[in-house]
């Protein structure tokens, strides 16, 4: 709550700064505001910016780094014996993590806190640091705000180009905002790449990309069963492709045919009803599809398989694939609808003028003309199918089978990322790092698909503009 109070105080100071700046601007010219370069309110904003920006920047940085600094200090302050195991060896990183967790829990007064004396002491120290830190922050932020406002207030004069300076500040803010997309991409690439490199220093990239054995369990003791820990991702890639393929087999014909019907045949009234209905499919959260796949579609396939004497796994690829296909239908249909309506009417007229029927025109003129655009749309849909997570997490299996049989259970890249990372994991084991390597593969593949698709679609649009 202290942070909240601080924000409030800073906000009040900013408002005060605004009024003071405006007041001073009016005062320095003796009320004749026409002598000012900028309107008084710009002077107010000028002072307010000087007051708010430095202090809020400080506050934000503090919030980001506070807990890690406090943790490091606590760690440094621990008695050396606390960092050693009973055998005198230094603790592993994982153990230190556990210890820190203990200290933090004790510090916040959770029931799960430890009664160990060292931990108690460390917790007190930790709390002390945080309390001091909070006071330091409050003092620093407030003085920065007052100093900034004072500086700005001092500079207010008739000649001050307050408007230009304020506008420059706004423009800088906008530029920073517009670069966030770039920094997000850089952040994604760096974090995936960095963790993946750590993974590849332990597991060779060749084994990862071409190995056919996936069992990411790392044993604690060397003699344990299954201690090998296989990281061959081929079964995951194959499973992803199988499920995406099934999804596309559902989505492409249904999506494309309904787009054709909507664009070329449907009366306006039908179109205005059916189009939004199809869009609903796109608005349903994926977790809902996952639930539908796991509780309705998968049992349906299992039971109907039993009727015909087929053994269909209750986590079959086909259930997940079909439901994913349903999810992608509106995606395919709206993109296809766009490219089909973009085909110039002259093409249609030319064909009708020769006596072609509507379906002949569509099949022989419009679809070939729209093909690049449709292919681009399908590529985008494939990239979405590959990256889809919740449906497969809920309806596809965990077993890394290398199979092309849609009635068996397969697993996918996204499923493995989720299973490897959900739950309390130590961050350093190859097991968790493998998730980042999978994430990197996923990112690269979808990125390439998207770039190609966007390029194809853009070229297509240019052709008819």
């Amino acid at each position: 709550m202290q942070a909240f109070t601080l924000i409030l105080v800073l906000a009040v100071l900013t408002v005060v700064g605004f009024r003071m700046g405006r007041g001073r601007a009016v005062a320095v010219v003796g009320g004749e505001t026409r002598k000012l370069h900028s309107l008084p309110s710009y002077h107010g904003m000028y002072v307010a910016l000087w007051c708010a920006v430095p202090s809020f920047v400080l506050f934000g940085l503090w919030m980001l780094f506070e807990s890690s600094i406090a943790t490091q200090l606590t760690l440094a302050n621990l008695p050396p014996q606390a960092l050693q195991g009973p055998d005198g060896q230094p603790l592993s990183e994982a153990r230190i993590g556990l210890l820190l967790n203990d200290i933090r829990n004790t510090a916040t007064g959770n029931i799960a806190g430890s009664s160990d004396a060292i931990v108690q002491q460390a917790a007190q120290y930790y709390n002390g640091i945080r309390a001091t830190g909070d006071w330091l922050l409050t003092a620093a932020a407030l003085s920065l705000a007052v100093l900034g406002a004072g500086f700005g207030w001092k500079r207010v004069s008739a000649d001050l180009r307050a408007r230009n300076d304020v506008e420059m500040a706004v423009k800088i803010f906008m530029i920073v905002c517009s670069t966030i997309a770039v920094f997000t991409t850089i952040g994604i690439i760096l974090s995936l790449l960095f963790e993946s490199l750590r993974f590849f220093s332990r597991v060779s990239p060749v084994e990862f990309l071409f190995g056919t054995h996936w069992s990411p369990q790392i044993s604690i003791r060397a003699d344990q069963v299954g201690s090998s820990g296989g990281f061959g991702a081929i079964p995951l890639f194959a499973g992803t492709m199988l499920i995406s393929f099934i999804a596309m087999m559902v989505a492409v014909p249904i999506g494309l045919l309904s787009a054709i019907y909507m664009a070329e045949y449907a009366p306006r009234k039908v179109r205005s009803v059916v189009k939004p209905l199809l869009e609903i499919l796109a608005g349903i959260p994926t977790v809902v599809y996952g639930f539908f796949a796991a509780l309705t579609v998968a049992p349906f396939f299992r039971d109907s398989g039993q009727l015909f004497g087929l053994s269909i796994s209750s986590e079959s690829a086909i259930a997940a694939g079909i439901v994913m296909g349903i999810m992608i239908i509106p995606f395919v249909s709206s993109l296809s609808d766009d490219v089909i309506t973009a085909v110039p009417n002259a093409m249609r007229e030319g064909s009708y003028g020769l006596g072609a029927t509507k379906s002949e025109t569509i099949k022989r003129v419009i679809l070939p003309a729209a093909l690049p655009g449709v292919v681009g749309g399908i590529l985008l849909a494939v990239s979405r199918a590959i990256g889809e997570t919740m449906i497969v997490v809920m309806a596809a299996g965990l077993a890394a089978n290398l199979t092309a049989n849609p009635f068996e259970a397969v697993t996918t890249v996204t499923v493995q990322i989720v299973t490897l990372l959900v739950g309390d994991q130590e961050f350093d084991s190859p097991k968790t790092l493998a998730a980042f390597a999978l994430g990197l593969v996923l990112f690269v593949v979808t990125l390439v698909l998207n770039v190609i698709a966007l390029h194809v679609v853009r070229k297509y649009r240019e052709q008819y503009e």
């Binding site: 002259a346 093409m347 007229e349 030319g350 009708y352 003028g353 020769l354 006596g355």
Partner: protein, 281 residues
Amino acid sequence: MNSQATAAQVQTEAPAPQGTAGTPLVGPGEQAKVSARNANVYYGDKHAIKDVGLDIKQNEVTAFIGPSGCGKSTFLRCLNRMNDTIDIARVTGLITLDGEDIYAKRVDPVQLRARVGMVFQKPNPFPKSIFENIAYGPRIHGIARHKDELEEIVMTSLERAGLLGEVKDRLDQPGTGLSGGQQQRLCIARAIAVHPEVILMDEPCSALDPIATAKIEELIDELRQNYTIVIVTHSMQQAARVSQRTAFFHLGNLVECGDTEQIFTNPQHRLTQGYITGRFG
């Protein structure tokens, strides 16, 4: 939408049609290839064509002229029912081809358009090869029985359109790669390939340069021997050069029609006179 009049009635009524433009182009005893009586077109609430009556004779070029927006293109599109593709368009009255009501229920627009071909204002080759562009019509109608016959049709059509010499080495190249004039002749060849009886041309030269235009005009004159041609043009010189008959439209009305020579030298109507002499348009 369909007129109640039967073809037989047209035969008896034909000599003395009434209305704003009742003058038949065809003398008694001569058979009109296409004729219209009391034709009206509505786009939604807009009355685009008002009571037009007109005869078009076999193996002649008939030109429709008039200021833009006068309805000449609209009327042209009635003659092969291209207006059917526009939802809000509505056609009333009687339009016949060889004495047969083309808006009658049993007449099939697909079949009709095979008989009445069309060339559009902007060249619109399909995004396919030159060969495929021309083969398209014969293919969909099943005109060629085997590949050789199809090739023959394509070659003949290209030849008749005067394009064969220019493109015979690159029949597998996309039709969209040709120049504007070549594209338009390709579209004409495409129309010819279906062996239509009538070819409708909607300002076929408006997007072309003068040299390409001259070539097309020459072509139109040659095609007249085998086909009945109706051409809409905004250029009076063109109408004078290529057509035997001319019809002048104004604000949806057919003002005057007759021999081209007579229309251009001795127009009967004040409006025609004004348009010909360039007072408006």
